[in-house]
């Protein structure tokens, strides 16, 4: 369970998180939606213990995120791996660094994602790079996965491959996965819990099925409406 209590984060004059109080349930796949600049990345970084909040707090399983690092796998939106590295070299790095590295998982996903170990980050396509970075994140048996825009800027085929990889590796009932994305369509069938944030505040959140029943609409539609309403309307389940 990840709990944000009156979490506020300022970057200079910009308010990235505005006094947000929200609980993200454990062992579920959670969709984090919202327009650009809504605060999605900041929320994930705060959960990963990578930014210090200006005020308020965030806890992961009741502890400070920094103490939970070994159990958290965070996929940043931008690539942080050296372009000169091959997938093999990066895997060696991860293997040495993370105690929860799962070699079997890594080998299987490598095949599923249509990647080769000799591929160099600087020489592959955007889609392949996205898949390679996801591969490294998923190869860890982390209890909590924080994925920031794993579908961003890649074609429909690679998006499908990524969705399949996410389903393939998910340990049901034992893993929390938070996916921030604009591609709500892509993960409509995947998310059990959704959070829509806008201007650093949670505008809509709740159980995906409850929201569907209540509104008689798909999550895509509900999120689109929230997008249109902006932050004027605050509702929750």
């Amino acid at each position: 369970m990840i709990q944000f209590k009156q979490a506020t984060k300022r970057y200079g004059p910009t308010l990235a998180l505005d006094n947000i109080t929200i609980t993200l349930p454990e062992n579920k796949i959670i969709g984090l939606f919202g327009p650009n600049g809504a605060g999605k990345s900041t929320l994930l970084k705060a959960a990963a213990g990578l930014v210090r909040l200006s005020s308020g707090n965030v806890t992961v399983a009741g502890k400070a995120p920094r103490q939970m690092r070994a159990h958290l796998a965070y996929l940043p939106e931008q690539n942080t791996l050296p372009f000169a590295w091959t997938i093999k070299r990066a895997a060696e790095f991860y293997r040495a660094f993370f105690a929860d590295w799962d070699e079997d998982r890594y080998q299987k996903q490598l095949v599923m994602l249509n990647l080769r170990e000799d591929m160099k980050f600087g020489h592959i396509s955007k889609g392949q790079l996205a898949k390679a970075r996801l591969l490294l994140t998923l190869a860890r048996q982390a209890h909590c996965l924080l994925l920031d825009e794993p579908f961003s800027g890649i074609d429909i085929i690679a998006r499908g491959e990524i969705t399949r990889a996410l389903v393939y590796d998910y340990s049901e009932g034992q893993q929390t996965m938070i996916i921030s994305t604009h591609e709500i369509d892509e993960i409509e069938n995947l998310v059990e819990h959704v959070v829509f944030i806008d201007s650093g505040r949670a505008a809509v959140f709740g159980d995906a099925d409850e929201l569907r029943c209540q509104e008689g609409k798909s999550i895509v539609t509900i999120m689109k409406e929230a997008f249109r309403h902006g932050s004027e309307q605050v509702e929750h389940v």
């Binding site: 399949r164 998910y170 009932g173 998310v191 099925d209 569907r212 798909s218």
Partner: protein, 123 residues
């Protein structure tokens, strides 16, 4: 298959199996996809599949044998009851809609007969 995104997916998974039983696509004692295979085949959250399978077990529709897989456990009797239930709910909504439109039972029956014959002549 595509799921209807406006209804809970676990209910649709259960319906999918019920329908397959009604049409004979699935028969008692048939082995069905494992939860993991189902999730991958249809790109659905494995937790949702788990919930659907659990519910189907509770309904007596399937049973999971350790190390062997999940099998259709429904008996012919249960299938009959399910068919009756489904027919009943189709009829309920038919009656309701026809009443709203102002048809009498006699008129509704005539129309139903007509539609039935048309459908048969098309086959």
């Amino acid at each position: 298959m595509d799921f209807d995104a406006t209804r809970p997916i676990y209910l649709q998974i259960i319906d999918l199996h019920k329908r397959a039983l009604m049409t004979g696509e699935l028969k008692p004692r048939d082995k069905i996809l494992s939860q993991r295979d189902f999730a991958q085949r249809y790109n659905v959250n494995p937790n949702t599949v788990q919930r659907a399978y659990r519910e189907m077990e509770a309904l007596g529709l399937v049973e999971t044998l350790r190390g062997q897989g999940t099998f259709i456990a429904a008996t012919e009797e249960m299938l009959d009851t399910m068919k009756q239930d489904m027919a009943r709910s189709i009829l309920d909504s038919f009656v309701q809609e026809m009443k709203i439109l102002g048809f009498s039972l006699q008129q509704a029956l005539e129309l139903a007969q007509e539609a039935w014959q048309e459908e048969e002549s098309r086959l």
